[in-house]
Symmetry: C2
Subunit: 493 residues, 2 copies
């Protein structure tokens, strides 16, 4: 911890990235650890970001024909047995409900009422949703089924970090069933593209999209597509995945339909999901040593207005009225908070800096008299300006564009220099990742899971095989064999 | 079951109300039983109603200053021990997670990895949210805390019915903390009023609002306020409750703050909730022997358009274009579906009748040639009209008002005659509820839980003490003692 407090967050990214992350999550009031092992509380300000994410994605899913539904959180254990790869992938982290009552014994509450067939809590819902789809699919006319669900899931974690890895988290999970293989692959790719657009364009992150290597696919999938976003420390964060499941799950739970040829066929299914960990990604992509920065698309507030009441002899009411006037003058879609709480303006300003509100206005008797606003631009190193209230009204949409572009440019600049495509062998790879150095290495890979222990030792993994392949021939960085596949190597969250 | 199929639903309300209910839920595609004991699948059409309910209430909550957040679904058992009344009320229906892993043993999956301190799954969140509030509340300046959460909860049920009683259900739970008793009581009453407005005005139900008798309050509450809606069979359905919790929970989890007097005080808290069972209430309040009827506020679609392609020689494209034209001509906020699926128009029409879409349009070459629409008005006994497309466009908002008024009037008429306020003694009460007869009896009650076995025998309970009290003196219907309290007696869901 630094003693001379130059920044709103007491530890800087360069000093200790991990401690900085926790400090921003706490300082921006996004979340806190709860009294429940491995579970977090998403506080109102953090949840407001999730609500913005939900609103944008939900609208996009529906435009593409998807509908929401809700399926049981409990999954009978024997249903899991139906897809061997799937259960192997998840068995180690599944919470199980075994009792349905609490009883007082010796002055202590204990579980009672044993459940004959214990219930797993969903780590993901392919099987329980597939089980319903099997009932809903009689004819090819019933297809495609395009379902989405917003819910909580549980994957027991031993080492947890807020947003990034918690035992319970929130997500959306899309599940679709199709008549043909081609349609299902197109669906998985289309949703992969929706995620990419959202993460790279709306959220201004730098990411590489591609396919997971076979040894790191979703348990039960034929192909997994992923968006690997780069954090400011050079590590990768898997931000959203889309799976083409082939007929694997359809066969496990009997999703069959009468085809155009009057014969019975298994459907082809997909699934795709994005979780609250994306909020952690926003922190690590755009945060700075003063706290959070948020792209305008998901910012709970674009503008906060702090009334300055302590100095000057203008009446409180006149200043409040002027604040209301500014708020009401702004165009639809601009989210504004006037903070009238009984705390000092100074504290409020630092609070909103930590929270990453794009524009912080301070409004006192001077601003009221001059018809101006004093504005702090969060993304531009807290630069302070004065402009007329009318200018602010007219320019607010451009100012938000500028805010987003600034975040995007900073992020791109920070990330680009951490991407290396000139590494040719294991020695160079080890050198690149030595001493806690990080970044994305794009290099040739044979496509076979050979010599993976070289990566394991460095805690590096193949994050994806980028969609944009160079097509050039070369030597596999791990084995020296001839190779044509480009792969991204990185440490990850 | 009736063989001559006069209606879209094969059993009528008068034949078997309970079987009719299940048939409407199935026929309108609202929900289905799942493979998990006591848990249902909320199908897309049923979930779309819930999304409308969420949108309306969420906006209202936020207008009143509430913010959403998310708290762990797991609650350590020992946290429950902190409020004795609360745990006594819920202990019998709490699901408990005891293991965090599945293992293969003798070719069978079994729970493994025992959890040292078993975790309850939330049946409600007063304690886990209060535990956070205790951290967030330092000074009176931090109050009020106005939090809401949309989530799933679990209360193990032995006998379940779709929407009305399932082991897992969805709800919103508001939790607030206040500086003074008066503020907290006002909050509970304000949210009670929000529910009443929504249920009685937006959803056009007939309901009596009031306070629960002491012996039937929420476990741990000082006062519980309830909306008791009447179903068409004369039974009551508790549709939303608001609780003034006094300092009970604040003391249990130490929600304390430094007051204006610089001393430490316990906060006063409230909680309030509304669940997916309200969808069951809509079915039983407005459904008829042809299926569902839905008030326009929560109808997934106001209008469905069925293209008629089989007769006439007009091209398919021209009819589709005309359908699109009608859809696009309607004002913002009108929700329209054009059903182009490959099923017969006849089947589609009956499907939307069962689903309770307010207006079903059939559009073929005749309508295209005449610039008209053929319309079925769902609430008006499926009356069919033809009107010009232009008239339909101009009148659609009035038509929806008429639709809602029709539902409201039908419901009021059906309910009013089942309310009896002239019953004076136990004999008359028994007569009223004899032989499966139902309704609301408004009668005097002493306010003491005496002779309650009279009610138990009839499966009748005191639903509420209406907010509107007559103030008249009389004799308690159960004990003959002097009494001033009016109470509502009914059977319930």
């Amino acid at each position: 911890m630094v003693n001379s407090r130059k920044h709103a967050i007491s530890v800087t990214r360069s000093e200790d990235f991990s401690a900085w992350y926790q400090a921003v999550v706490a300082g921006a009031d996004l979340a806190e650890n709860s009294c429940v092992r491995g579970c977090m509380v998403i506080k109102p300000y953090g949840f407001a970001i999730w609500e913005r994410i939900q609103a944008i994605l939900d609208r996009r899913f529906k435009e593409l024909g998807h509908v929401n539904a809700y399926f049981p959180m409990f999954i009978p254990i024997d249903l899991f047995e139906k897809e061997a790869e799937h259960i192997n992938g998840f068995a180690k982290e599944i919470c199980v409900v075994t009792h349905h009552r609490l009883e007082q014994r010796d002055g202590k509450l204990v579980p009672a009422g044993e459940i004959e067939n214990p219930l797993a809590i969903r780590p993901t819902s392919e099987l329980i949703i597939g089980e319903s789809m099997a009932r809903w699919t009689k004819s090819y006319r019933d297809l495609p089924l395009l379902i989405n669900q917003w819910c909580n899931v549980v994957r027991w974690e031993m080492r947890t970090r807020m947003f990034l890895r918690t035992s319970e988290f929130l997500w959306q999970e899309g599940h679709t069933a199709h008549e043909t293989k081609e349609e299902a692959i197109n669906e998985a790719l289309a949703m992969h593209k929706v995620y990419e657009d959202f993460i790279c364009h709306s959220l201004k992150m730098t990411a590489i999209s591609g396919k997971k290597p076979n040894h790191d696919k979703f348990a039960g999938a034929v192909d997994t597509y992923t968006i690997e976003a780069m954090m400011q420390d050079g590590k990768a964060l898997q931000s959203a995945t889309s799976h083409y499941l082939g007929q694997n799950f359809a066969k496990a739970v009997e999703i069959r339909f009468q085809g155009r040829d009057a014969k019975l066929h298994y459907a082809y299914t997909t699934s795709w999901g994005l979780t609250t960990r994306l909020i952690g990604a926003i922190v690590m992509a755009h945060g700075d040593d003063d706290g959070l920065n948020i792209p305008s698309a998901v910012a709970p507030y674009h503008v906060t207005i702090i009334p300055l009441l302590q100095n000057g002899n203008t009446s409180k009411d006149a200043i409040f009225d002027y604040c209301e006037h500014i708020k009401n003058s702004l165009p639809d879609g601009i989210r504004v908070l006037i903070d009238t709480k009984d705390f000092s303006p100074q504290n409020k300003r630092w609070d909103y800096i930590r929270k990453g509100v794009p524009f912080i206005l301070e409004i006192g008797s001077k601003e009221l008299g001059d018809h101006t606003v004093s504005i702090t631009k969060r993304a531009q190193n807290l630069a302070r300006y004065t402009m007329s209230a009318e200018e602010f009204r007219v320019q607010i949409n451009d100012l938000l564009l500028e805010h987003d572009e600034t975040l995007g440019e900073k992020n791109e600049k920070s990330c680009t220099k951490k991407i290396n495509d000139s590494i040719k062998n294991v020695a160079e790879l080890k050198e690149f990742f030595a001493e806690n150095r990080n970044g994305f290495v794009i290099a040739k890979w044979s496509g076979l899971a050979k010599n993976m222990e070289i990566l394991d030792e460095m805690a590096v993994s193949i994050r994806c095989l980028p969609t944009k392949q160079s097509g050039m021939k070369g030597k596999c960085i791990l084995t020296g064999e001839d190779a044509t596949i480009d792969a991204v190597f990185a440490k990850s969250y």
